[in-house]
Amino acid sequence: MMWETLVQPFADFGFMRRALMGCIAISVGASPVGVFLMLRRMSLTGDAMACAILPGAAVGYLVAGLSLWAMTVGGLIAGMTVALLSGFVARVTALYEGESLAAFYLISLAAGVLIVSTRGSNVDLMHVLFGTVLALDDDALILLCSIASVSVLALAALFRPLVLECADPQFLRSVGGPSAMAHFTFLALVVVNLVGGFHALGTLMAVGIMILPAAAARFWGVGIGTLIVVAISVAVLSSLGGLLLSYHFSLPSGPAIILVAGLAYVLSLVFGPVGGLVVRALPRRYLELLQPFS
């Protein structure tokens, strides 16, 4: 029974194995980035960035049809442009990054929807917006795995400057550290992961696998290492659960995966040991508050 429910779909169907593989790649690449987004209070930035990718993917689609590479390149260009522009505007003017990003992504989203709807059918729009995790071909899988690898390696290389840039940007700048480099490389990582994610989950759902596991992790640990490990685990398990749900109940897989991640977030919110609702309600001994974290 357990076997049939949990393993059989993957044993029987290649597309399920591919979908799982793709989702694991996205989880490993995107969730750590999501942890940093959350710690920098930039969760909504991910959202905005995902919308910003749309017109690029749409132009790629216009030029070459439903082509993986054209849409990837288009998405990257659009995403990077918006990320750089808003990061630049925030650094030079009095606008906060969120505000300038909001302006740019709204322009970008409108342009994207306009482009897609002039040429494509609604089905194509649905493809870009909601992804096709059950139809990942070899090229797509290679792309997703490459993006995950690059992302993990880049994050490892960038780790210390990025942590300092998050914790005390003014200080990093005052000692001549690579504050701007850390900031923009990180934004680039967000874009790259979202572009990878949109092939499987769509532009709108790709943010979900980035942010929800990170938000859930917050209730299970304090240190950055713990947060990253928990976030990746939550993302992988959500992918597995979502794919199985969509298989057994004939649900669209992208939203199913994100909803399972959402469920994981709600459960963490209630039962998580670090500031979860249940723990907050329980009386605690004073000393526990003073323990150092690991």
Binding site: R160, A167, P169, G177, P292
Partner: protein, 247 residues
């Protein structure tokens, strides 16, 4: 006597409105100077100019053999994200950035120095706590520990004792005295004249323009304070030229 800093007719400001106007004077190397003046007198602005985050509108600052690397700066309101999950020891270890950079390993010798800095500011046993668990005074101690590790020849402190209790202040003044003893140049923006009189041999009084600069007892006179207040209220005083009275 060599100078650490020389203000040469320095004007600093925001959006073309000067906050520090035509400041002249030298800070000798190894001196311990308090910067005093009414609110809005341009004290913090002056430090920002020295650090280089604010470019002069006119005039310049000459560094007597100091590189930008030799300056450590504690801003009035530090940008530290107190909710960010790093430990006190990690925050303090940031002071080693110039030595280890973004990729260098923190060796045992580095860790020993971090531990030493932490105990020098009286935070023994706090190393592994998250920075979010520190009180305001403890946070200021941690930031001082970080300054200690920066090992800078010029230390700039912007109102370092404003939100701390007297005991913390006493401990941190010991750290400042230690820097002074080691021959480092220290500039500190302060409000409490008693602290200045007790611990700072030299004082620079600012009210957008220079009011007085010299040995503390000669600067902190009732007359100078009255003048400073008047100059700040009047805002646009008579045009001040780089004069000899600025000594």
């Amino acid at each position: 006597m060599t100078f650490a800093l020389e203000f040469q007719d320095l004007t600093l400001g925001y959006d073309r409105h000067p906050a520090v106007h035509r400041l002249c004077g030298t800070i000798t190397e190894g001196s311990l100077t308090a910067i005093v003046g009414p609110n809005g007198a341009g004290k913090s602005t002056m430090l920002k100019g020295v650090v280089g985050t604010l470019r002069p509108l006119a005039g310049q600052i000459a560094f007597g053999g100091l590189a930008q690397d030799d300056i450590a700066y504690l801003p009035q309101q530090s940008d530290v994200d107190r909710s960010f999950p790093i430990a006190v020891a990690d925050l303090v270890a940031m002071g080693l950035w110039r030595e280890v950079g973004g990729f260098g390993a923190l060796r045992a010798a580095h860790r020993a120095r971090v531990a030493e800095a932490i105990s020098a500011v009286g935070l023994e046993g706090f190393g592994k706590r998250p920075i979010g668990s520190l009180s305001g005074g403890q946070m200021q101690r941690a930031l001082f520990a970080r300054l200690l590790l920066q090992d800078a020849r010029l230390v700039l402190l912007d109102e370092p004792f404003t939100s701390v209790d007297t005991r913390t202040m006493a401990d941190l003044i010991v750290v400042v005295q230690r820097w002074h003893g080691e021959g480092r140049t220290v500039l500190a923006v302060l409000h409490d004249f008693d602290t200045v009189r007790a611990h700072f041999p030299r004082t620079l009084m600012l009210a957008r323009e220079l009011v007085a600069h010299g040995p503390t007892p000669q600067v902190l006179t009732a007359e100078n304070q009255f003048r400073a207040r008047q100059m700040c209220e009047a805002c646009a005083g008579p045009p001040h030229t780089c004069g000899r009275d600025a000594a």
